[in-house]
Symmetry: C2
Subunit: 424 residues, 2 copies
Amino acid sequence: MGKSNSKKKKIYLDYASSSLIGSANPGVIHELGIKEKNKLENARAVIAKILNANTNEVIFTSGATESNNLAIQGIISYFWERYSHLGAKLSSEKMPHIITTNIEHSSVLETCKHLEKTKQAEVTYIKVEKNGIIDSKKISKALKSNTVLVSVMYANNEIGTIQPIEEIAKEIRHFKKINNIKNLPTGRQVFFHTDATQAVNYLPINVCKLGVDLLTFNGAKIYGPKGVGILYVKRNTPIRKIMFGGDQEFGLRPGTENVALAVSISKAFQMTENMKKKEVKRLIKLRDYFLNKIFKNTSKSAIAENLVNNKIILNGDLKNRLPNNINITFTKIPSDLLVIELSARGIMTSSKSACKSNSKNGSYVIDAIRSAEALLPPAGGSKASAEEIGSLRFSLGRDTTKADIDYTIKALSEILHKLKKWYN
Amino acid sequence: MGKSNSKKKKIYLDYASSSLIGSANPGVIHELGIKEKNKLENARAVIAKILNANTNEVIFTSGATESNNLAIQGIISYFWERYSHLGAKLSSEKMPHIITTNIEHSSVLETCKHLEKTKQAEVTYIKVEKNGIIDSKKISKALKSNTVLVSVMYANNEIGTIQPIEEIAKEIRHFKKINNIKNLPTGRQVFFHTDATQAVNYLPINVCKLGVDLLTFNGAKIYGPKGVGILYVKRNTPIRKIMFGGDQEFGLRPGTENVALAVSISKAFQMTENMKKKEVKRLIKLRDYFLNKIFKNTSKSAIAENLVNNKIILNGDLKNRLPNNINITFTKIPSDLLVIELSARGIMTSSKSACKSNSKNGSYVIDAIRSAEALLPPAGGSKASAEEIGSLRFSLGRDTTKADIDYTIKALSEILHKLKKWYN
């Protein structure tokens, strides 16, 4: 500063609010603060419009993990606030009940487990079907008098299966209707949350049509910035904040607003929406080309040999899956080894969920679909653990081409050939 | 992708981990993931070195608000986990006790109030002295058998007063010594947290010398990125996470790591450290020049007239204050009006704390130092509320020049002259 521009002198003496002159604190009332506040609210409006929501129903967080924590802990916290006068006398019948599934992202599962462990909630984990899809009727059957929250992901992060969110919403509406539940502060309430992080690139995201009260996604998965997430909170959904401080984000999320990230995620979200239709079509074509190369391989390649020996499994439903997801298991070959071999050939893929890759456990999602099956296709009798079989995820994106797929198929064939003597 | 570079073909098929090829998920094991992991750990090492800490004592969060919440909620959560078998039978004597002050940032104060309200902790709020400084002997006197945490900010965000962190640490050590407390998992523990967000630009930040167990700061206040904070957690300080999900950040903070922000804050922190000595000297000179212009103004300006009528108050100690902070009260003139008048002249300042500026309350910090005084200097008898008198904060920074100060003094004088007929 100190230099005047052509029009008006500007002197910034608000370094304690934000040391970056170019990104003033939107909570302050001077000219730069007001400009930032406007940018923030414009970004919020862009996101709200795409979601078919109201502007004050969109909350900025630090990411999908925080959004999921805020949704779930926030509902339970409200419940306890409402019933705090009951204190320790709260009987197990009154304990708030959450219904979720056994294939949710760790930020949903671990939050639920924490609430269970600390006796803040009772949780039912609906088991996924063998095709990786949740049966909405099973959700319906699990609803009971103390149910306050249902949390089901829109699409699974590992196997890409799409969950029947609209159907589940319908089941919940039906349950509320026959039990005369109106989500009023005075009465019983059942809210529906979905983690749409993996779905938002490819699936319809109109919250009214989906019938959800809470919806999560983030910037990193939609070609936007890392470090920012969204939680849609339908009007009259009484969640309570989980971190405490300033009154930002309608009192639900303290901390100086990050205007740059908010603007950036709004632009990324708009672009995702604009290209969704075309991109979905293109990726389905690519994905199915990839799958055909693997599962209908008639040449004398190592892939074909593996297939003949019934050693390649497509994890998750073929039809109800994300356009960009291919998740396969090569039985007897550790998936980590395949990731490393592919990486050595310049091909970046994932085994299991990245969020849990440091843990000693295998994939709980693959475990879940396997345990829903009677027996594994290959012989052996006992249920193969995910640790033994592993799973390899190829997730395609905007820059993926047919040539990339061809190169990958070729590499995969070479790797399988190389490993043949060890694992056949 | 799809285009091979000169050396090696690269195909990214991990869009579900992160849609940004340039910023892969550091939790995955392919080549790009490992590169990101290395960058993250290098950034952590840079920060640890400056703090004189171990690398695994540095946690990345989304900001100072989250760091403060994690420190305070995290310690209390650990306590309850340890004593969970006592359940509802926990007597009030055993209730974990927190000592903090009445001038902390809202993210500390509101977290403490929440823990009090939900009967998770007992909290003592030490009253600040009239010079804006906490008396370490008062902390010492408040320590008792169930104290588990002391949280005192390093420097105040509104009035810039520097708190005697080393002295408070000494009092706590003395208390622990005479009570044979060793911070072991098996016995009684007292931990010391400081919010160093406003201090880190200008004050020594060696955690061993300060004697703290937990220390908070963020990127936005050190000319670094928004959306990232640091929590230093001394080895054997048993905090528990407050959000649940993946195992990132040594199990204390779930969510995909933000490598770009981590690298960026480490660079900003290093630069801050490199220029600290010189910048402190320069800013003290500028600040004192500013103060002299206001308080030793002998010309016939409107400022001088105000001063003669005893209507300008410097809030907070003159000596023990941040080099960049000037906080003054013009009695009878609403501070918001001054901020707007200054903004109209291109000068960006703050009134009260930006984090609470939307709230209906005045500044609780100014309230706290006023209520520590016997009477306000001007007549009137009853204690003037902060709402009536307000406070105006000028916080200087790297680009502030002497010419900026001269321009500001001139503008201030004009504004006071203009408002004279209304407020004299």
